[in-house]
Structure formats: structure tokens, C-alpha cells
């Protein structure tokens, strides 16, 4: 690479996006602000499992299977996309990447696929062929590395192909070996931003064209740039406003935008927790891993349909009755579907139905519950942290929870009664005030997301309030979320952090305020928000903004959000 290489530096400290200053009181909040002079690098991000899969499908087609276990991602500041800037590859993780890579490579060079995927034929199948190896590796390499290979890089890969072909007396096995080393290379597994001098601002730096292309495509499509975008990068078009807008328009109009939007919400809504979510089979016989998968798909489909296809108002995701169901989900929701052919069908919950919007869906109710019972505390906390970007402090030490939820106590039949008994303890009241009035409104949904009106024979009281707004049930809570400025502010912060792979820095508050204003002015259209961020200067800036050496403890709420969590109650 010939471009000048300077890291994109930004201070780790995120500033607060607290809707309510009252939440910013925890001592834990001070945890994550960096020591003086400590800086966070944002330039190297590990591909997510989904991005890996998407790239393989884009480059080699969907018939190539990607099997195996991926290294777990780490959530930081509410997003795996931010954690991707902190993780590396462990020895056992690399072992797995190596296995996956060898399996992908052997499929690509197999007799079944080689004619379609390798653009040339070797002179002899049992010997090296320099020319054909070079052609395939430079073309595939450009897509996998999201930039052309340097002469040295290409020569090294061709040599591997040739040497291996000689050892194994097989051109294709040699080529597969070389491809496999590309797939385990840090140049593939990590996104690596490269900076170059910015002619428009002498003395400053910007992302080079290819890094910008990756920034756009991982953000909007959750995958590597396609050939058209790479070509635009190569020609320098992404450095002009026209060229950039043209590409972003094209990407927003593509059906692949839905993959990008789904990937964002999969991250924001913590769907990575689903594979290890347990529900007791005796208590919830209808719940299964299939139902869990369908429940996620229901929400993602609904979001993609509402936000992308219908270009709907973001706030309506909390209240819309329009969704999609499978017969299995319909049976848990207890509603009839027009046909029972097993596929996805549109369905609309009517006005007044307790099922209104995101939080009433099985995916939300079930994910934030215990294996054997619902949890107002977990649900309230999830709404605060995931949907409103607020911090709920961990419970303090030395708390006696015995009064909390002794389900066998005949006097404490409902979760509300049990929690009230517990929250009379002064040290507990503070946090429970934050989460319980929200979570208790959702008590009509059990641990697996089924609707109920009673618990242990007692009527469930679903009244509550969100930041001063009273409601009588989950639908009322949904309306309060719809009208909450914290909810729209939160999604802007999250989308920006997701795109950049880091939490917003202190010096970016004005910028984010502007994004928020524009989001409102455009009727809270999600693709417009993505466009605004994708085409902003911030997205291609390097070494900005200039900031003080240290943020105040109060300003590190987001950064400390993912500290150890206690999930009792």
C-alpha cells in the first residue's frame, strides 16, 4: 500500500447521552473512562460471524457452506460492533477459522464448483499453473481483502499455490491451500482502516477510498464492498460528494439494505443471547429452538418491512400491529392465520390488542426472562439500556433478596407484590424505581411470551409509568416509548456507534445533535438516518475531533454500560 498510514485515533471516553441525569449517579459509571493520555484505536475491527458468512456468499455464492464454531463476540457500550474493535483471535479461535477456511476453500476448488468459480483452467491439472493461479487469487483476493492485493501479497499467494500444487501434484488442491491462507489472514479477518493525506484539508488525513468503501458496505449491507463500489473507490469517486452520494443512493436502493438494517437490530437487540437462552420444557412446552428462531425472524422481518419497505416512522416500531407470523408463532399468540401452509404470512394485530409493537413480541418478552418465569426487572432493564441507551447500575453488594420472589408465599402472588416487598429496602429502591414500573407493565407476557391475565390466580396489575408518563398496560408503555425522545435519540447514537465501531466521542455531541434534528425533520425515516451518517464528514475523517485529554467521570455512561450484569429477579 502506498498511502500514508496514520491510525484513526479517538479517545475512548464516550460522553453521556442520558435522557435523565438522575440515572447518572452510579459509582460504577466512573469505571471506564480512560487514564490520562490513554487512547483507543478504532482502525482494526474483527469481522462478525454474519459478515464472514455474507462475504463468502457474495464472493463464492450461497451454495458454499460455512460450517463451524466462530469465536464469541464481545459486547461493548451496548453493541457487538463496538466490541469488534477490542477483540483479537485466540489460538482456539484461529484453529476454528482455519477449519472453516479449509472447508470453504475445498468447496470452491471442488469439481462441482470450480468451473463456475475459477475463471481459468490450468494447462495441466496435476501441476502448478502460475497464470491461472494469479488470475484467480488476484480477483478473489480483491473481494476478500476489500482492496487489490499488493504485488508482494499476490506473489506470496501465488507461490503458496504453486508450491502446494507441486507437493500435492494437484493444481486445484494447491489453489485451495492458497485461498485458505487468505481466509485465515488478518487482512481478511480484520477490517483495517487506512488513512491518506486529505488534499482538501492540508495537514489532515482522511480514510483512503477502499477503507471508505468498506465503511459504507459493512454499515449499509453488513458485508464487503461489491465490485461496483470497489471500482468507485479505485477511481477516487468516493472522495467527491457526487460520487459518494451516488454510491450511497445505490446502496440504499438495493435489496441488500435489509441485511444491513437487520444486522444493526440483531446487534442492538442482543439477539446473540438467543442461542443460549433456556426455557424450561415442562413449564413452556410450546417453546423450542425453532420458536426462538421464528421469534427473532418475526421481529427482524417486521422491522425491515416497516423501516425499509414502507419507509415508516421509526417511532412506530413500538406501536405497529403489522407483523409477520408462522403458524407456530400464531398458535403461541393465539391468533388465526389465513392459511396454514407453514410459511411466513403478514398479520395485523387490531387496535386495542395487547400485542402492539416491538416489546410485545415473543422475541423481546422471552429474551428478557428467566428460564422458569418472567422478569419485570430484566425487561425494564432491557428497555432502559437497549432501547433508551440509559444506564441501570448493577445491584449493590450485601443485599438480602429473600423477600423478593418466594413464589410459594401465599401472600405474595404476583411479581409486583414480591418486588414491592423487596424494594422497600432503601438500597434497592433506587434502581427498582428505574426498571420495575416499566417491566411490570409487561407482566401479562409470561417467560415464553404467551399472554396471560393472572399469576397464581391473582389478577396482574400492569399500571406503570415511564419518565413521568403514566399508563395502564403494555400497549400504554409502547405508546410512551413511541413518544419518548430518549428512544429516538438512542437509536441515532447506536447507529452512529455501529457504523464507526466505537462509541461517540465527547467532541461529537454537536454532530450527533445535528443527526438527531435531521432524523426528526425527515419524519424519523431510518434509511435517511443511515444516509446522513454514511455521507457525513465524520464517517471519513481521521484524527478528529480534537479533544481534551480526559473526560469527566460523569461522561462515561455508555462506556461502562456492559459491566458485569446481575440478573436476579
Amino acid at each position: 500500500m502506498t498511502s500514508i498510514v496514520i491510525r484513526r485515533r479517538l479517545y475512548a471516553a464516550a460522553f453521556a447521552f442520558m435522557a435523565s441525569g438522575a440515572l447518572a449517579t452510579s459509582a460504577a459509571a466512573a469505571d471506564a473512562y480512560p487514564a490520562q493520555g490513554e487512547q483507543a484505536e478504532t482502525g482494526v475491527r474483527r469481522l462478525s460471524q454474519e459478515q464472514y458468512r455474507n462475504i463468502i456468499a457474495d464472493v463464492f455464492g450461497p451454495t458454499i457452506k460455512v460450517g463451524g464454531r466462530f469465536e464469541p463476540d464481545i459486547r461493548r457500550d451496548g453493541l457487538l460492533a463496538v466490541g469488534a474493535s477490542a477483540v483479537s483471535v485466540t489460538a482456539s479461535g484461529l484453529e476454528q477459522y482455519d477449519q472453516i477456511a479449509r472447508s470453504v476453500a475445498s468447496q470452491v476448488v471442488s469439481e462441482q464448483h470450480r468451473d463456475a468459480l475459477i475463471p481459468c483452467k490450468p494447462a495441466k491439472a496435476n501441476a502448478p499453473d502460475d497464470k491461472c493461479a494469479k488470475q484467480f487469487l488476484s480477483e478473489a483476493g480483491r473481494l476478500l481483502y476489500r482492496r487489490p492485493l499488493t504485488q508482494t501479497e499476490l506473489a506470496a499467494r501465488v507461490k503458496v499455490a504453486n508450491d502446494s500444487a507441486k507437493t500435492l501434484k494437484n493444481f486445484y488442491a494447491g489453489l485451495g491451500n492458497s485461498l485458505s491462507t487468505m481466509l485465515v489472514s488478518p487482512l481478511f479477518l480484520f477490517r483495517h482502516d487506512v488513512a491518506e493525506a486529505d488534499p482538501a484539508h492540508p495537514g489532515k488525513f482522511r480514510l483512503d477510498g477502499y477503507s471508505k468503501a468498506s465503511q459504507l458496505s459493512f454499515f449499509l449491507w453488513d458485508s464487503a464492498p461489491d465490485p461496483v463500489l470497489l471500482a468507485a473507490a479505485e477511481k477516487g469517486e468516493l472522495h467527491t460528494a457526487d460520487g459518494l452520494n451516488q454510491q450511497v443512493d445505490r446502496m440504499l436502493a438495493s435489496p441488500r439494505l435489509k441485511s444491513g438494517v437487520r444486522a444493526f437490530f440483531t446487534d442492538m437487540l442482543s439477539y446473540d443471547l438467543f442461542p443460549t437462552l433456556a426455557k424450561d420444557a415442562m413449564l413452556f412446552p410450546k417453546y423450542s429452538s425453532r420458536v426462538a428462531a421464528d421469534a427473532q425472524e418475526q421481529t427482524l422481518r417486521t422491522l425491515a418491512d416497516h423501516l425499509v419497505t414502507r419507509k415508516g416512522d421509526y417511532r412506530d416500531i413500538f406501536t405497529t400491529g403489522k407483523t409477520f407470523l408462522t403458524p407456530q408463532l400464531a398458535s403461541i399468540y393465539g391468533v388465526p392465520l389465513p392459511t396454514t401452509d407453514g410459511g411466513w404470512q403478514p398479520y395485523e394485530f387490531k387496535e386495542g390488542d395487547p400485542r402492539a409493537g416491538l416489546i410485545s413480541q415473543i422475541s423481546f418478552a422471552a429474551l428478557h426472562s428467566h428460564p422458569g418465569r418472567s422478569s419485570p426487572t430484566l425487561r425494564g432493564k432491557a428497555i432502559r439500556t437497549s432501547l433508551l441507551c440509559q444506564k441501570v447500575p448493577d445491584p449493590p453488594g450485601n443485599v438480602n433478596f429473600t423477600a423478593v420472589q418466594d413464589t410459594s408465599n401465599p401472600n405474595l402472588k404476583t411479581a409486583r407484590e414480591r418486588l414491592n416487598a423487596h424494594a422497600t429496602e432503601a438500597m434497592c429502591t433506587g434502581c427498582h424505581k428505574l426498571v420495575d414500573p416499566i417491566g411490570l407493565a409487561m407482566e401479562t407476557f409470561d417467560s415464553a411470551g404467551s399472554f396471560r391475565t393472572t399469576e397464581n390466580g391473582a389478577q396482574i396489575d400492569t399500571t406503570g409509568s415511564l419518565d413521568g408518563k403514566d399508563f395502564t398496560d403494555a400497549a400504554g408503555l409502547a405508546r410512551a416509548l413511541h413518544d419518548s425522545s430518549a428512544a429516538t435519540s438512542c437509536v441515532v447514537d447506536r447507529v452512529y456507534a455501529y457504523a464507526m465501531g466505537r462509541s461517540p466521542a465527547r467532541g461529537e455531541k454537536e454532530l450527533l445533535d445535528q443527526f438527531k434534528k435531521d432524523f426528526a425533520a425527515n419524519g424519523y425515516r431510518f434509511p435517511d438516518l443511515m444516509r446522513r451518517i454514511a455521507t457525513s464528514d465524520a464517517a471519513s475523517r481521521v484524527g478528529q475531533p480534537q479533544m481534551g485529554a480526559r473526560s469527566s467521570p460523569k461522561s462515561s455512561q455508555l462506556a461502562s454500560q456492559t459491566s458485569a450484569t446481575e440478573n436476579s429477579q
Binding site: V5, R7, S26, A28, D31, A32, A40, E41, G43, V44, P72, I74, G83, A86, V87, S88, V89, A91, S92, L94, E95, T150, T152, E153, K159, V160, D163, S164, T167, L168, A173, N177, S178, T181, V184, P186, F190, H192, V194, T276, A278, D280, A281, M282, H370, P371, G372, R373, D394, P395, P396, G397, N398, V399, T402, D406, S563, A564, N567, S568
Partner: protein, 446 residues
């Protein structure tokens, strides 16, 4: 002392590079080290020392596990009864605590961090866990630097980490762990024939191209990113080493037998499922040690907020810890006691697997040191005082056993320091802030 000739490594390289390409054998320290114990065995010295950790969540019921007497144990507390067969081959530590130094308590993690990393971090930054430190000292020449398994179905239950963000993921499927260790790439040390696989040779040489990719990253990489890339390349080196070992005929290991194939099993948090998977993991890990595949194993029976549950139960082990009242008559939480009984019985089963493998005149357990980890001394109140920790095994005669060390108010990191010294890590002080200690349990070191 023989005076050294002043020929520097670098000038040797320069001389070579200036002329024709020849292969030069530079002194390679690792070649003096024993790769699988048999070199030593052949010369009559002992088989290698191994290390392991065994982690469970929520501690034990206070007052029900501590041995009666200090020093030589005559009787352990009731909740340790499942381990009675190992009383004379284990050590129990009581009274030890984690110091927060004004940092907020991170419930269920601060205590575990103090035991396993000698430090209570702020936020997620974390120092390396003790098993990775020991592995770097004793495990660099085996196929796997360490092996991690978690029996409650979640790869992130692993407590083994090189830093806060570099956590060695645990295998959650016994069948997958079996394939990883004893699948097609396993070289049986006792096989009569050996033919290096040309495909492995080709893969091994291909990896050199990946090492070259380092150059494509920027020279001015920031410290954090540089460390992450370094971690990647350390992992790459492990991968190369695995392939190197596959190309060499392994020296015979008398105690090594290839275990029977592990079938796919259901994975989850229901306690019978967890126990069944743990049993298979225990057997596989013991065999991996005996077959020279690794010297360090890490078993996470549960995570710290133990999600164990009985089939059909409304509450998990963790929920019980906080919500079950202390029985007025018994004076403890009875359901918790039941869970702890299950946990300690499983730990005994784990030890049985190691003890069931004969290596020369002793058992594998005698050549191993297992250290336990947990999160709280009294989970009900998130207490981090009097955290129960044990070591089991003789570490090849390097530690004395059958002892109870009571050190009320001392930092729990004293155990980790002692263990490192027993395993030959050259360290005299370990831990940070008030959890820093220079005081090993000297009476444990042989």
C-alpha cells in the same frame, strides 16, 4: 566460564543473507525443552507436570465447607464430603477475600477475578488468568497450549483469558471437543507406523504467507491494536506448532489411550444435562493430558451466575442463591446445599478421571495441580469474604497436600501466587493494589 565468541546472531544472519541462501541452524532454546515428557521418561526422570482449573459459580454455604482444624486436615466440612476420597491429596483455603480498593463490586465477577487474575479490575479490562500464565511456562510445546470446556452450554463461560477482550472460548459440545483432540488430526503416540501427510506439509508451508501479512499492517499501529495483532500472530504460531507436531512421529506415551468416540449430546442448563456433558468432558480432558496433547486444561462447570436448574423448576441455582430463605432450623439455604452437593460430586468425578489414569508409579492426578475458582463466599449477599478455594493433586511432588490453610482477611491471590511458584513460574509478587501479594503459602510448597 568459557568466554563467548563475539559473533552476534544478527551478524550471522547478515553474513548469510549477503551470500547464497543456505539454511542456518541457530540455537533454538525450545529444542532443549521436553516436548511431551517422554524424553525425560526415557532418561528415567519424571513425566511432565500438568495444570488445570475447575470453576463453578456461587461458592458454597458459609460455615459448611471449612475443615475443622488448621494444618493437617482430619475432617472437611459437610459440603466437601463428596471430595472425601481426596482429602489427603488436596488443600483447602479459608478466610481469604477479594479487596475492592474502593471500586464498585461487580457482582459475580470481582471475586472470580481476584482468584484467577490476582486483580479486581475496573470495568472490563482484565489481566491474564492464571492458567494462561502457567500455560506460557509449561505448555508451549504441546499441540494445544490449553483446552477449555464449559458444561452448561455457553462458550463464554470460560474463565481463561489473556486479557479482558481475549477470552479463550470454551468448547460446549463434547463431540466437538472429541473431534478437535482425537479426530483425524490426532497422532497416536503409540501407533507403530508413522507417515507424514503431504497435505499437512503443504498447509504448514502455506502459513508462512500469512506471517508475511504482518507487513501489510501499518508500522504506526497504536498500542492497543498492535497488542491485538500480536495476539493473532501468537495464535498463528500455535497453529504452526500443531502442524509441526503432526509432521513428527510422536514419542510413545504409555498412559495414552484414545478414548471412545463422543456422540452428540443435548446441551443446556438443566442439571442432568450439565452433569452428563461434564462427565464426557472430564474424560476427554484427562485423556488429552495423558496423550501429551496439552498440559493445561480449564473446565467451567457453570458460569459464575450459575444457571443450573432442575427440570420443571421455576428458579435457577442463581435465583435460589438470592431468594431462598435461610432455613430457621437448619441455619442454611437447603436448596443451595442440594445444588452444591451436585457440584462437588461432579468435581469429584472430574478428579476420578485424572486419578484413573496410571502414569508410571503414580496417577495422572499426582502429576497435576488442579486449582478451583468461584465468585463469592456468600452468594446470597454477594459476599466476597471467605471465598472457598481448593487445590487438588501433587503437581509431581511439588506441593504438599492434606492441608487446611486459614488466613482470615488475606487476599485470595495468595493462592494463585503459591500455585504459580509450584508450577515453576518465576514470580515472587502477584496481583494488583490490595490484592497484590508476595506471600505464598510456603508450607504448601515441597
Amino acid at each position: 566460564m568459557i568466554p563467548m565468541h563475539h559473533v552476534k546472531r544478527r551478524s550471522v544472519l547478515r553474513g548469510v543473507m549477503g551470500g547464497a541462501a543456505v539454511s542456518v541452524g541457530l540455537p533454538y532454546l525450545d529444542c532443549f525443552l521436553n516436548t511431551n515428557g517422554t524424553a525425560l521418561a526415557a532418561t528415567g526422570t519424571q513425566l511432565p507436570t500438568r495444570f488445570g482449573t475447575w470453576f463453578w459459580g456461587l461458592g458454597l454455604n458459609p460455615g459448611r465447607w471449612e475443615p475443622k482444624d488448621e494444618g493437617k486436615m482430619t475432617e472437611m466440612g459437610i459440603e466437601l464430603q463428596p471430595l472425601n476420597a481426596y482429602k489427603d491429596r488436596m488443600n483447602v483455603f479459608s478466610g481469604l477475600k477479594a479487596f475492592l480498593d474502593g471500586k464498585p463490586l461487580q457482582v459475580h465477577t470481582s471475586g472470580a477475578n481476584a482468584i484467577l487474575t490476582g486483580s479486581v479490575p475496573r470495568g472490563q479490562a482484565s489481566l491474564p488468568s492464571i492458567d494462561t500464565i502457567v500455560a506460557d511456562a509449561i505448555g508451549t510445546q504441546t499441540r494445544f497450549r490449553s483446552l477449555e470446556a464449559a458444561s452448561a452450554g455457553n462458550a463464554t463461560h470460560s474463565q481463561s483469558r489473556r486479557s479482558g477482550a481475549v477470552v479463550n472460548p470454551a468448547e460446549v459440545s463434547p463431540a466437538a471437543l472429541y473431534t478437535r483432540i482425537f479426530g483425524a488430526e490426532f497422532q497416536d503416540p503409540n501407533a507403530s507406523t508413522f507417515t507424514p501427510d503431504p497435505a499437512v506439509m503443504a498447509r504448514r508451508s502455506a502459513l508462512s504467507a500469512v506471517i508475511e501479512d504482518r507487513k501489510s499492517f501499518e508500522k504506526t499501529l497504536g498500542a492497543a491494536d498492535k497488542a491485538r495483532l500480536d495476539e493473532y500472530f501468537t495464535s498463528l504460531r500455535s497453529l504452526e506448532q500443531q502442524l509441526d507436531l503432526q509432521l513428527k512421529k510422536p514419542a510413545p506415551l504409555e498412559a495414552c489411550t484414545k478414548p471412545a468416540d463422543a456422540a452428540e449430546t443435548p446441551v443446556g442448563t438443566e442439571i442432568e444435562m450439565v452433569k452428563a456433558n461434564h462427565k464426557i468432558f472430564a474424560g476427554l480432558l484427562a485423556h488429552a493430558l495423558a496423550c501429551g496433547q496439552t498440559r493445561v486444561i480449564n473446565m467451567a462447570f457453570t458460569d459464575s451466575t450459575s444457571s443450573l436448574r432442575k427440570a420443571g423448576g421455576h428458579q435457577t441455582h442463581h435465583e435460589y442463591s438470592h431468594e431462598e430463605p435461610v432455613d430457621a432450623v437448619l441455619g442454611y439455604q437447603p436448596t443451595m446445599a442440594w445444588f452444591f452437593g451436585e457440584v462437588m460430586t461432579s468435581f469429584a468425578y472430574f478428579l476420578d478421571q485424572l486419578d484413573g489414569i496410571k502414569e508410571g508409579d503414580r496417577t495422572l492426578l499426582d502429576r497435576t495441580l488442579i486449582m478451583t475458582g468461584t465468585d463469592h463466599g456468600y452468594a446470597k449477599l454477594h459476599g466476597i469474604e471467605n471465598i472457598p478455594v481448593f487445590t487438588v493433586g501433587g503437581a509431581n511432588g511439588r506441593v504438599k497436600t492434606g492441608l487446611h490453610f486459614r488466613a482470615v482477611g488475606d487476599t485470595v491471590s495468595r493462592i494463585g501466587l503459591t500455585v504459580q511458584q509450584a508450577m515453576g513460574v518465576p514470580v515472587s509478587t502477584w496481583g494488583t493494589e490490595s490484592n497484590q501479594t508476595s506471600k505464598p503459602f510456603a508450607d504448601m510448597l515441597a
